[in-house]
């Protein structure tokens, strides 16, 4: 469903991605790991369509479409979801209001009827319970005054409601205590399905104890330098990243 070929991207003339090749098929869970500054979050941002990044080479195909031909919101409606590392606060806009607008925009794109208020609320109540969040979060401003953990839960709640085809999780585990990590992981695991791809960007192996990936890739200096199964993550945890850099150089 997602096919990245030779992707190069830069920001302010600094090259960040230097030829990424990655294919994600429906049903697969991929994890991208790597040290700070390796380009992990850039990859997530480029996929979602952040305009600061310039694509200098390569192609990305998503559901058979040229991803770079699609506007940010079109990518989202096509089923690409980004769980943000730093979710934005939007004061005064009800969390539930944004959620409903988003869900209905996506449903409309898929040729489905917009939810009426009753159906929507029943669904959102079910999901918010699953994410072990208080219903009062629905009526607070989007992420306004949420703690770090609450923001991340809210991201996953949005994902559960939007049912994307491809979920990109950008450092979703950062800043989470162990209880929040368990809840967030529960949400992500609930989304695992034969029709859905998941791409997790993470710094730590810890998340992968809870969400076991099918593939692990190591990103360094804007390139995937090694791929393997989930045991690669354990190896990285034990040995760090430097040995890969040496291997690369040699």
């Amino acid at each position: 469903m997602l096919d990245i070929k030779n992707l190069h991207a830069s920001i302010d003339n600094n090259k960040i991605l230097n030829g990424i090749d990655l294919e994600i098929k429906a049903g697969e869970v991929h994890a991208i790991m790597g040290p700070n500054g390796s380009g992990k979050s850039t990859l997530a941002s480029v996929l979602a369509g952040r305009s600061e990044y310039e694509i200098t080479d390569g192609t990305v195909t998503f559901n058979g479409k040229d991803l770079f031909e699609l506007e940010i919101e079109e990518r989202a409606r096509e089923g690409l979801f980004l769980a943000f590392q730093y979710p934005q606060e939007i004061p005064g806009v009800n969390n539930v209001y944004l959620l409903k607008a988003a869900v209905n925009a996506v449903r409309k794109h898929r040729g489905l009827d917009e939810f009426d208020a009753y159906d929507f609320l029943s669904l959102v109540r079910e999901k918010i319970k699953f994410m072990e969040m208080d219903e009062k979060f629905l009526h607070r401003g989007v992420n306004e005054g949420f703690s770090g953990g609450e923001k991340k839960r809210n991201e996953i709640l949005q994902m559960l409601m939007l049912e994307p085809k491809l979920a990109v999780l950008d450092e979703t585990d950062s800043g989470l205590d162990i209880d929040a990590l368990k809840v967030v992981s529960k949400g992500v695991n609930a989304m695992r399905s034969d029709e859905r791809g998941i791409l997790m960007v993470t710094h730590y192996q810890r998340l992968l104890d809870y969400i076991k990936p099918d593939f692990v890739h190591v990103l360094m200096n804007g390139k995937i330098v090694k791929s393997g199964d989930h045991t690669l993550a354990l190896e990285l945890e034990a040995k760090g990243y430097d040995w890969l850099l040496d291997a690369e150089a040699a």
């Binding site: 506007e71 940010i72 989202a76 934005q88 939007i90 005064g92 988003a102 989007v142 939007l162």
Partner: protein, 478 residues
Amino acid sequence: MKAIEDQIANKYKHGFVTDIESDTLPPGLDEDVVRHISRIKNEPEFLLNFRLKAFAHWKTLPKPDWAKLKIEPIDYQAISYYSAPKIDENAPKSLDEVDPKLLETYDKLGIPLHERARLAGVAVDAVFDSVSVATTFKDTLHKAGVIFGSFSEAAQNYPELIEEYLGTVVPIEDNFFAALNSAVFTDGSFVYIPKGVRCPMELSTYFRINAANTGQFERTLIIAEEGSHVSYLEGCTAPMRDENQLHAAVVELIAQKDAEIKYSTVQNWYPGDENGLGGIYNFVTKRGDCRGDRSKISWTQVETGSAITWKYPSCLLKGDYSVGEFYSVAVTNNYQQADTGTKMIHIGKNTKSTIIAKGISAGKSNSSYRGLVKILPSAENARNYSQCDSLLMGSTCGAHTFPYIEAKNPTAKIEHEATTSKVSDDQLFYCRQRGISEEDAVNMIVNGFCKSVFQELPMEFAVEAQALLAVSLEGAVG
């Protein structure tokens, strides 16, 4: 963004001209014009004297010096001071007698007098150019003892009320435009709520400037007797014209003991084109007088139109425990200028005021909040809370805040908060990543910013205000 740019050209939706014969005085202003207006309206003697006194005073006043506004000099002799749709000797007595073309105009504006009013249970008084055309629901209101209609009618039917209250809140000497209005006002609304009556419906006035080169000088007077309650709404539009048109209204509110007046405005006068050509000069004096103890006056305004807006709906808090409120959203785009705010004058003991002002600037526009909180020595335990927030869109607009505070009683508690923020790319990206279009995202963020003001508006006005905001800011981000 192209689609949005395409829409800018036809964005002012109320810019049509109604082809209708009108009785218009030739441009120019002298004592004869003042007398002429009074004569057309068959006014009682005291009103003519009121006008003449105001005119004599106006002539002595220097033209106002503008603080933060850039204004081409206005030629007061080039304006026509009276324009009425031409009708028979007898004014329409019911909706059926109103010129169908006029009713069509109101339909285009989205206020079909018949249906919308009936559905919404809102009584509408519509002022077209200078005269009041029709008032709906007169009978229902009459039964409740409420007087609601045109100012001209009231001058005929209730001269004693007009004489008692007119000019007691905004004296003719108050300022340049108040003096001008007092001399040449042509119509407006009059509301009287008797003692203990809760007005059974929202009262609403719709103002429209149609004729070219005319000014609109309306005069509104609302009197709420002891223990009464009224909610009043006004909406304003004007056709697109290259020339600037002058609108200088005066609104006076009087709240007696335990009375409450809620006054809401959605102002959408023509703002001029994207190069700053044309548009309405909106110079308005609005003041509420909390005369009785425990009275309350609440101003809510959404200002999206006009080339220049200059208004400071204010409250004189005379009664002990009286309350003044001001909730404002002012939006400027392109070359619009807005200088708006409020004055809260605390005179009585334990008086309380709240000011929530939200300014949104886009394009090359400038918006200023100018407010005065004044605590007189007599105002023991006065309290004020002010919050002024500015939201900037793009980097070529400006927002300014001028809060003036004068506290002459040591028991006063005054709080002031101010913020300036931008619609951030990160917020837009976040919304769009959830599938929401850029335009909807901007509207959502802006509406969130304005929420604490919008929730003060009556329901149907809140919906209209949100829609107006969307139109005003089309193409503002990109």
